[in-house]
Subunit: 301 residues, 2 copies
């Protein structure tokens, strides 16, 4: 599971402070999460192949999370894309994107499929044989979802020594991985548990931005491998959180702690802060395993 | 008259190849012309004060000329702007911008005034005591205007020596500058021409992008101080001009030559060309005084 940060700042873009966008590479699928202005340039800078992006998830329709989307779609069109592109985002996103394409007489030649979201409880919005994606309803100024990316539980792991000891023929090994009991050469039924180990623990990634402090999400993101939680402000500016519906670094850490995630990544920093080191320090008073997002940074879990 | 190039490339943004945007500083007024994705960052890089921008002119609604506008407006809002912003562009621009602001629940606190254009002949769209701006109807795949920025003819210049010789009192000097005849101390009427010089020649700037080769514009832009004309392609790729409705460097030079402008600036280069020096060479075979646009470059006339 690899996460590449394309932008992790709030509000207005500055040089080296890009608005929200990131790419999650999980089980060889590439998901683009949020798409602030300039995302297509950030994708190029980070050498991410445009053709690999088939699913884009937009948390909410504030400009710093979505004004890069029309340009990215236009670029896909200019590059001659012909494969499907799926866009998941709040209701209204389809009207907005299609209006812009219509005004430019630039409808895409490739299938552009919108999945508009209105759920106010967690909803499964993507599933294939290896991955699920579920919305995480957040509490922001406008309708906003985080997204929980989860590997499905994989196959059980064959205990080859035990299988041989039980004289099981190799043609049954596949069934063992699938969790089935099998019959050995002597016609004896061998319990699956005695010839296999449990599957690897599935990894999960919870993206939570933008939101005010919102412990309602804790049960859903419990034990996630990684939580990316917005921390627009430090506690020194906590008074700004109420009106803007954002969180502090400390509040993000409280969510991480309550949800007992393995790792917390902080991002969506207000550009008022020159140095974000203080965010790490503040969060670590509550939750130890804290990392800071940074444009161009890759995290591997 | 100062022109700052923020972006002068066509199609998809690349590092160091920004889509169309430029700032014209004329008679102490600042006009933003086109606003491709990333324009707000280019404004910052070029240290142009956001508050000085009161009028934005959008040639057409292809993404590389206008996808930076919603983000720029949002940034103006976040910065607490309270002065009027006037936007001139093709019909549909208002609906698009307002829909994006509505979806983000981010209507501006400052007056946002749209001047939607549908004229197919040159139309005066801006006028104050020093400047006029007129549309230049172009020939592109969608409805497109260039813009002709023109200084008004200034006051006549007082010939102070002649005025003294004719014994004219200083309280009449203002009338002389306004072109009036005046009466001297002896009660004799003195003709304006004998105590003043003609005003400075007014400067003008014609922005023509995007368009195919379109000599219909020549009469309107005749004798302009500066013509910025798109040259997406070189003659080697002239066959692409017909379908895309763009021009070559040579064609841009032909327009400049026919219009007898003083200086031609080439821009809107396709990103297929690594080195744009060839554009200058090609154009100079037809018209001598050619300059090449470049991100961050300032031209003073």
């Amino acid at each position: 599971m690899k996460l590449t940060i394309l932008g992790c700042h709030s509000g207005t873009p500055l040089v080296n402070a890009n608005p929200s966008a990131q790419v999650l590479d999980i089980q060889n699928r590439l998901f683009l999460i949020d798409c602030g202005e300039g995302t297509q340039l950030q994708l190029r800078k980070n050498k991410i192949k445009f053709a690999r992006i088939k699913h884009i998830f937009i948390s909410h329709l504030h400009g710093d999370h979505f004004f890069g989307l029309p340009g990215l779609i236009s670029t896909f069109r200019l590059l001659g894309r012909n494969t499907e592109l799926h866009i998941y985002g709040p209701k209204g996103i389809k009207e907005a994107v299609l209006l812009l394409l219509k005004l430019g007489n630039s409808y895409t030649n490739f299938p552009l499929l919108f999945h508009e979201l209105e759920h106010t409880t967690p909803a499964l919005i993507f599933e294939d044989e290896k991955i699920t994606v579920t919305t995480i309803p957040l509490n922001h100024r406008i309708y906003t979802n985080g997204f929980l990316f989860k590997e499905k539980e994989g196959e059980r792991i064959l205990n080859i020594e035990a299988a041989r000891k039980h004289e099981i023929e190799t043609c049954y090994f596949q069934n063992i991985k699938k969790g089935m009991d099998v019959t050995n050469k002597k016609g004896v039924v061998i319990k699956n548990e005695s010839v296999s180990f449990p599957p690897h623990h599935p990894k999960s990634y919870a993206y939570c931005s933008d939101t005010e402090f919102y412990p309602e999400i804790v049960s859903q993101i419990k034990n996630s491998t990684v939580l990316y939680h917005e921390s627009t402000f430090l506690e020194a500016h906590k008074h700004l959180c109420k009106k803007t519906k954002h969180s502090t670094a400390r509040q993000a850490a409280q969510i991480a702690s309550q949800a007992q995630v393995e790792t917390l990544i902080l991002g969506h920093f207000s550009t008022r802060y020159g140095d974000v080191k203080q965010f790490e320090k503040e969060a670590q008073e509550v939750f130890k395993n804290v990392l800071l997002a940074k444009e161009g940074k890759e995290f591997i879990f």
